[in-house]
Amino acid sequence: MAINSDVLVIGGGLAGLTSALKAAREGADVRLVSYKQSSLRHASGLVDLLGYTPDGEGPVTDPYAAMADLHDAHPYQTVGVETVRESMSMFDEVTDYRGDHTDTNALVPTHGGTVKPTARYPTGAAAGLASDDRDVLLVGIEAMVDFDAPHAAAHLEAAGVPFDVRGETIKFPGDLQADAKITRYAKLLDNNGEVAVRGRKKGARDALAERVNTVRENEARVGFPAILGDAHTDGVRAALEEKIGADVFEVPMGPPSLPGLRLEDALFEALDESGASFETGNPVVDFDADGDTIETVYIEKNGARIPNSADQYVLATGGLVGKGIESDRESVKEPVFDCHIEHGEDRYDWFDGDVFGDHAFASFGVETDETLRPLTADDAVEFENLRAAGSVLGGYDFAAEKSGSGVSIATGYVAGENAAAEAR
């Protein structure tokens, strides 16, 4: 016996979650299994579609228009531009993200002071857009060295943003230790928890607003690192806006990231509502196949092997960073089903000598047919009931193109749709 479902999705990132959600909405009995917590915790929370062309041109204004010119092996070409739109509508339905009013990329300031072209952004980042011409005050927190507000402000000015921007660093109220966790700040603000300021107890929201008011001149917008609450982030922002008298926004940060965490929560909640099952914490380590049909996969829990069976499988285990693709000095591998990954014989062909050059490894991944089934070296289908989605796919360089989220959502959507259709 085994734990059974119609569709089993392996991987809990954006691609896996989208694919499980789509398959469940199509009426399939879906189970998602993920080795570790979602990699969304490492993500900025911004959702990009296509920021730059593979040749490095950009920022792209209309990502949908630019997709048509991509090379044939690009995942966007495999699924088609119309499907990308459809998949983004599903994403919009289950999140409270902004940006769906237009095809045009939004320009969102990042914690390094660059401007990222992105298709969707959290509500909390909305007041910070670089296309807005109101002046900005960036507020850094002394102990949070990942966000140097004056430095980010200088960078933004150098990038030619159409407004004045200034950075100030303040001490977070209360006696927090130097390396307090981002969740500590978020929890304090969520609960308006008491902090001591010069011997007097105050609510964290009030105390923070008071500190900002001493450094604000008359900027209409104030940007904070993304620590403004977790469970009640809208409430935290609204309270600060009232007390400061300006629009408040969050600047997306590096990992670990609260906006990524909140997106993870929203997607798991949607998945729960769709009736799908899921579990995290243990890896898929092995499988049984009958010819070219996968019958059972095995999840390992400290030596115990838990069999999980399904009609259809989706591989959404991530790329080199997510460890859905592994490499050693000899070869590049997909570790779960050992799907073929095209790569040069000589490892010196895998990368470029220039640090920011055109690295071959960035596009390593499985190649698929038009229904996203991975292909062998001879272009035959690896398994008739296996599909792949997200960064385990080859043929695109999400880091250079700024296309990671869009490809995950679009291919996840298609893999989920096809898997559910076949499972019926």
């Binding site: 390396d179 981002i182 969740t183």
Partner: protein, 456 residues
């Protein structure tokens, strides 16, 4: 003491160490505490810190990354480095394990660091040490109390006595001690006829199910302390449900799983108990039994903490044959379908506010009760979210930790109160007592509901 070893044989994310990883012998005696295993895979992404319920409320707690990989690095560069006493504020919820994208065995490092701190730095005459030792050895107190349950129930919650315990021992007077049952699980089990009675019941069920009367279906029940002394009804439900599916149950000799001892750095105590448990369980595994637990901290200890911390003969075998009760039935029986075809009426026809214990999460079991019971007619079940309950076994019993424990639990209490039902559900006995303490709700175990649904 700590027999350092690589966390698991298979580790798809062990880029630095590879499969033939050998711990470096940095200490003069290889039996000393070694924080090394897996440390090199930490690239300081700090995602573990976002999972730590203590770091979220405690300004003085530096978080899981510091307690494990960072302390290892500090030990490497400074010969005189001593384990920071903040390790005693780690509640051993083990959530950081599940977070690490590189498979660093954080909770193993914390258990090792805490063991070293207690063994080498803590004053054995201090009140804190004595108090922790008493709390960690709950089984000892429970054994005595269960001999005179009426007296114990009265005495443990007698106001002046509790005031004195707080003043002298630092055990908070805010909590009610768990009630001791008038008949322990083992007393019930023996009076019922032990393994022989179970075999007969299982055989009857097999006949009813149309299976071979002598089919090889047998499990060894690790009931743990709480099911034995405090909630024997959970143990009884476990036995009846398994017999219903045709399993013969045995209840082998056993001691505490060691969970409260790991959390208090009492590794020598834990090892003594683990040796007994492994010895009796491994004999049974050899005879074809699987080990089943109804408490998720007990299954966690047998599956993960024992093989990480101790080198006891047969431990790997026991770990790979240990399962949580519902998980086991989900793998081996068509329990989902059986649930869909039945219903519950009477006392347990309720809306349940379900909380997944941290130690269930770490076994990938955080959703199984919700997913199973949402198809059951007559009941409703709602997941009250991912927050930790905050009690973490003995943690919330310490006077100085009580308020933090309640602050951690606040989110869960709120979610429970917003949930439809006024009855809670969880697998973990201490989470149950925290849920009850924070909301006043009665708390049930999934096995009790399963029994009500399947065993009419």
């Amino acid at each position: 003491m700590s027999d350092a070893q690589s966390p698991t044989d298979f580790d798809p994310v062990e880029p630095n160490t590879g499969h033939d990883f050998e711990p470096v012998d940095v200490f003069p005696d290889s039996n000393d505490f070694d924080l090394r295993p897996g440390a090199d895979s930490c690239f300081k992404c700090s995602v573990c810190d976002t999972n730590c319920p203590v770091a979220e409320v405690d300004d003085d707690f530096p978080g899981p990354k510091f307690q494990g990989p960072e302390q290892w690095r500090l030990k490497q560069t400074d010969d005189d480095y001593e384990i920071d006493d903040s390790v005693m504020s780690c509640s051993n919820c083990m959530r950081c394990d599940n977070a690490c994208p590189s498979g660093v065995p954080l909770s193993q490092m914390h258990n090792t660091a805490r063991g070293e701190y207690v063994e080498e730095q803590m004053d054995k005459l201090s009140i804190e040490y004595v108090r922790n030792r008493i709390l960690a050895n709950y089984r000892t107190s429970a054994t005595i109390a269960s001999k005179v349950p009426g007296l114990a129930n009265w005495g443990m919650n007698f106001g002046p006595a509790r005031w004195l315990m707080e003043k002298t021992l630092g055990v908070t007077k805010e909590r009610e001690f768990p009630e001791f049952a008038s008949e322990t699980f083992r007393e019930w089990w023996t009076a019922r006829g032990g393994a022989d009675a179970s075999r007969r019941n299982a055989q009857e069920s097999r006949e009813r199910m149309g299976l071979d009367r002598n089919a090889d279906k047998k499990v060894a029940y690790f009931h743990g302390c709480y099911s034995n002394y405090n909630s024997p009804n959970v143990g009884q439900a476990m036995v009846r449900v398994f017999e219903h599916y045709g399993y013969e149950v045995v209840a082998p000799e056993q001691k505490c799983s060691g969970t409260p001892m790991f959390a208090n750095g009492m590794l020598k105590d834990a090892r003594r108990h683990a040796e007994v448990n492994v010895s009796s369980m491994s004999d049974l595994v050899d005879q074809g039994y699987d080990a089943i637990a109804s408490c998720t901290s007990c299954s966690m200890a047998l599956r993960q903490e024992y093989p990480e911390l101790f080198d006891i003969e047969g431990i790997e075998k026991v770990a790979s044959n240990t399962f949580e009760s519902l998980e086991y039935l989900r793998i081996h029986e068509d329990i989902q379908e059986d649930i869909q075809e039945t219903d519950v009426s009477g006392e347990l026809a309720e809306e349940f506010a379900y909380h997944a214990p941290c130690h269930a999460r770490n076994q990938g079991l955080e959703r199984q009760s919700v997913e199973l019971f949402r198809d059951l007619d007559g009941v409703g079940i709602e997941d009250v979210g991912e927050s930790c309950s905050g009690i973490s076994g003995t943690y919330g019993w310490k006077e100085e930790k009580y308020e933090k424990s309640m602050e951690i639990g606040e989110e869960m209490f709120e979610h429970m109160e917003h949930a439809e039902g006024d009855v809670g559900m969880t697998e973990c006995p201490t989470c149950a007592s925290q849920m009850e303490h924070g909301t006043g709700y009665e708390i049930r175990h999934p096995l009790e509901l399963l029994e009500a649904a399947l065993v009419k």
